[in-house]
C-alpha cells in the first residue's frame, strides 16, 4: 500500500502535463487500444491541455486589467471570466477524477442497464466532463477520492433517470425514435423547467390551455426576426464587441479598445480549437467505448443517449438562445452575488434552454422566462465555482500573474454539482444524504416515467 501511494504521489507530482497523458494512455490500454494509439491519445490530450493554458494566458495578461478597472470605476465586481464550456470540459477531464471518468461512468451505466434501472445507453462520452466536474470539485473539498467518485456516479445515475423520463418528449419533438438526452447539464434543468411549467399554467386560463399546444406552435417565433443578433452571435463578433465595449467603458483609447476587441475575438476563436485538440485525443477511446456499448446494447428497448445539442435546431431554442445573450449580460451586472463576466458560453446560450423548449411545448414566452431564470441560477453557481475552476487551471502550470482574474464557465454552473458540493461539507453524513437523494430521485422518476408511459399508451388506444 505504502509503495502504491508513493508511486501515485510521484506521478501526480509530475504536474498535469505529464500525469494526464500517462493516465489517458492507461485508460486507452484499459479499453484495449493498440499501445501506440493509446500513447498518441494520451499525448494529444496533454497537448490540448497545454494549448488550453496558452489561450487562457490571453485572459490573464490582457483582460485582467480591464476587470480591475471595472471594480475601481463602477464597483462592478466582474472579476471572473467565463471561458466557455470548452475550457471547463478540458479542465474537468484533466483532474485526477477526470482522467478515469470515462471507464468509470461506462461501468456505472452498464450496472444501471444490467439492473434494469435505466433504458439509456449514454454514448455521448464527451459530456462525461459534467460528471468529472462534479467529482473534481468534491475531491478538491474533501480530498477523498471515494466521495468524489460517489458524487460523479450519483450525477450520472440521476442523468440516466431524467433522460429516460424526457425521452418520449424529446423523440416526439425531433421525430427521431430511440434517443434520449442524459447530458449532465441539460438534466439538471429538467426538474426546474417542469416546476416552472406548472407555475406558468396557474396563470393560463383553462380554455386556452387545452389547445395551447397547437396555438403556441402556430405562434412560433422565427429567429430571422433577430437578424442583427444572429450576426453578432457568431463567436468572433461576440468576442470583439464585448472586448471593445468593455474597454470603452473603462475609458481606454479607441486604439486600445480595438486591440482588446481583437484579443477577445481571438479568445473566442482559439478556445474551441484548443479544446478540439484535447477532444481529438479522446476520439479513439470514445470510439472504442461507443462501439462496445452499441454492440452490447442494440435492441429496440434501449435509448441512445445523446448530447442536448440535437435540440439546438428547434426555432424557439434558436430565437430564445439569441435573446439570452443580452439578457445574460444584463443579469451579470444586476445580480449581487454574481462575479462572472459572461463571454465564452454566450456562444452557447441555446444549450441552457434546450430542455425548456421541449418541456414548454415550444412556447416562446415560457421558454424566454425560464431561460432568464435559469441563466440567473447559472451565473450564481458558476461564480461560486470560480475559485475551484481557477485552481484546476493553475495546476496546469500556466504562470498566473498576481491579482489576476478568476476563470469559470457558465456551463459549469450546474445545480446538481452545486448541491452535491454543499452536501459534501457535511462529510460522511453528506455522502449518505447524496446516496439517499439519488435513490429518491431514481424512485421518483421511475414512477413518473411509468405513469407517463401508461398515459401515452391510453392515448394511442383511444
Amino acid at each position: 500500500m505504502g509503495i502504491l501511494k508513493e508511486i501515485f504521489n510521484y506521478i501526480s507530482g509530475l504536474g498535469s502535463y505529464v500525469m494526464i497523458p500517462l493516465m489517458i494512455t492507461l485508460v486507452g490500454l484499459l479499453v484495449r487500444l493498440h499501445p501506440i494509439k493509446a500513447l498518441k491519445a494520451g499525448m494529444t490530450v496533454g497537448i490540448g491541455l497545454i494549448s488550453l493554458n496558452l489561450v487562457l494566458g490571453l485572459i490573464w495578461t490582457n483582460i485582467s486589467p480591464v476587470a480591475n478597472l471595472l471594480v475601481e470605476k463602477f464597483g462592478l465586481k466582474l472579476t471572473t471570466i467565463d471561458t466557455g464550456w470548452g475550457a471547463a470540459a478540458g479542465l474537468a477531464f484533466s483532474t485526477t477524477v477526470g482522467s478515469f471518468i470515462i471507464p468509470f461512468i461506462l461501468i456505472v451505466n452498464i450496472l444501471m442497464l444490467t439492473l434494469k434501472l435505466t433504458n439509456t445507453v449514454n454514448i455521448d462520452i464527451w459530456n462525461y466532463w459534467h460528471y468529472a466536474f462534479t467529482g473534481s470539485v468534491i475531491y478538491l473539498l474533501t480530498h477523498n477520492i471515494v466521495y468524489a467518485f460517489i458524487g460523479a456516479a450519483a450525477h450520472c445515475i440521476i442523468s440516466l433517470k431524467i433522460a429516460d423520463y424526457t425521452a418520449p418528449k424529446v423523440q416526439k419533438e425531433l421525430g427521431i425514435p430511440g434517443i434520449s438526452i442524459p447530458q449532465g447539464f441539460a438534466v439538471s434543468t429538467v426538474p426546474i423547467f417542469d416546476l416552472l411549467d406548472k407555475f406558468y399554467d396557474l396563470f393560463i386560463p383553462k380554455s386556452k390551455k387545452d389547445n395551447s399546444d397547437s396555438k403556441d406552435k402556430g405562434k412560433e417565433i422565427d429567429s430571422s426576426k433577430f437578424g442583427f443578433l444572429s450576426v453578432i452571435a457568431e463567436p468572433i463578433f461576440l468576442g470583439f464587441i464585448i472586448g471593445f465595449l468593455l474597454a470603452l467603458l473603462v475609458s481606454y483609447s479607441i486604439k486600445d479598445a480595438l486591440n482588446l476587441g481583437m484579443e477577445m475575438a481571438a479568445l473566442m476563436f482559439l478556445l474551441p480549437r484548443a479544446t478540439k485538440i484535447l477532444m481529438e485525443g479522446l476520439v479513439p477511446i470514445n470510439e472504442q467505448a461507443r462501439n462496445y456499448m452499441q454492440k452490447k446494447y442494440n435492441g429496440q428497448e434501449f435509448y441512445i443517449g445523446l448530447d442536448s445539442a440535437v435540440l439546438l435546431g428547434v426555432p424557439t431554442t434558436v430565437a430564445v438562445g439569441l435573446l439570452l445573450i443580452p439578457i445574460t449580460l444584463v443579469l451579470a451586472m444586476i445580480i449581487p452575488t454574481n462575479t462572472t463576466l459572461p463571454v465564452g458560453d454566450l456562444a452557447s446560450t441555446a444549450f441552457f434552454i434546450s430542455m425548456a423548449t421541449v418541456i414548454h411545448n415550444r412556447s416562446f414566452i415560457k421558454t424566454l422566462l425560464s431561460g432568464t431564470i435559469m441563466m440567473s441560477i447559472v451565473l450564481c453557481i458558476s461564480s461560486f465555482f470560480a475559485p475551484m475552476i481557477t485552481i484546476f487551471a493553475k495546476s496546469g502550470a500556466a504562470a498566473m500573474p498576481e491579482g489576476a482574474l478568476q476563470v469559470t464557465a457558465l456551463s459549469a454552473g450546474n445545480p446538481i454539482a452545486f448541491v452535491f458540493y454543499q452536501l459534501n461539507r457535511l462529510g460522511i453524513v453528506g455522502i449518505a444524504l447524496i446516496i439517499a437523494l439519488t435513490a429518491g430521485i431514481v424512485y421518483f422518476y421511475s414512477m413518473k416515467t411509468k405513469r407517463e408511459t401508461i398515459k401515452e399508451d391510453k392515448g394511442v388506444v383511444l
Binding site: G86, S230, G313
Partner: protein, 94 residues
C-alpha cells in the same frame, strides 16, 4: 471540388466524428472535397461556400443548400442510408 459543412452544437466534438466519417466516405468514392467544421451558430455564415450541410441536429428554418442529419454516424443506426444520401447530393452535378 465539393464543400461539406459539418456542424454540431459547438463545432468541437460531435462534428469531429461526423467529419472523419465523411472524409473516409468521400475518399473511398474518389470525390474531391473540403470540409468546414463549425458550430450551429456559424452555419448560416458559411452556407454560401458549401454544397451540403451535415449536422448533428435536425435543422429547421431556411437554408440555401440541402441539410442532412448526420446523427447516424454517432448512433450507428442507418449509416448506409445516410452515406448514399450524402453521395447522391454530391454526385448530382459538377
Amino acid at each position: 471540388m465539393k464543400t461539406v459543412i459539418v456542424a454540431c452544437g459547438a463545432g468541437v466534438a460531435t462534428s469531429t466524428i461526423i467529419s472523419s466519417n465523411i472524409e473516409k466516405l468521400l475518399t473511398e468514392n474518389k470525390i474531391e472535397y473540403r470540409i468546414i467544421q463549425c458550430s450551429i451558430r456559424e452555419v448560416k455564415g458559411y452556407q454560401d461556400q458549401g454544397d451540403i450541410i451535415v449536422s448533428s441536429m435536425p435543422l429547421q428554418g431556411d437554408y440555401k443548400i440541402p441539410t442532412i442529419l448526420g446523427l447516424p454516424f454517432i448512433t450507428g443506426i442507418g449509416i448506409d442510408e445516410l452515406k448514399s444520401e450524402i453521395l447522391s447530393y454530391l454526385n448530382k452535378e459538377d
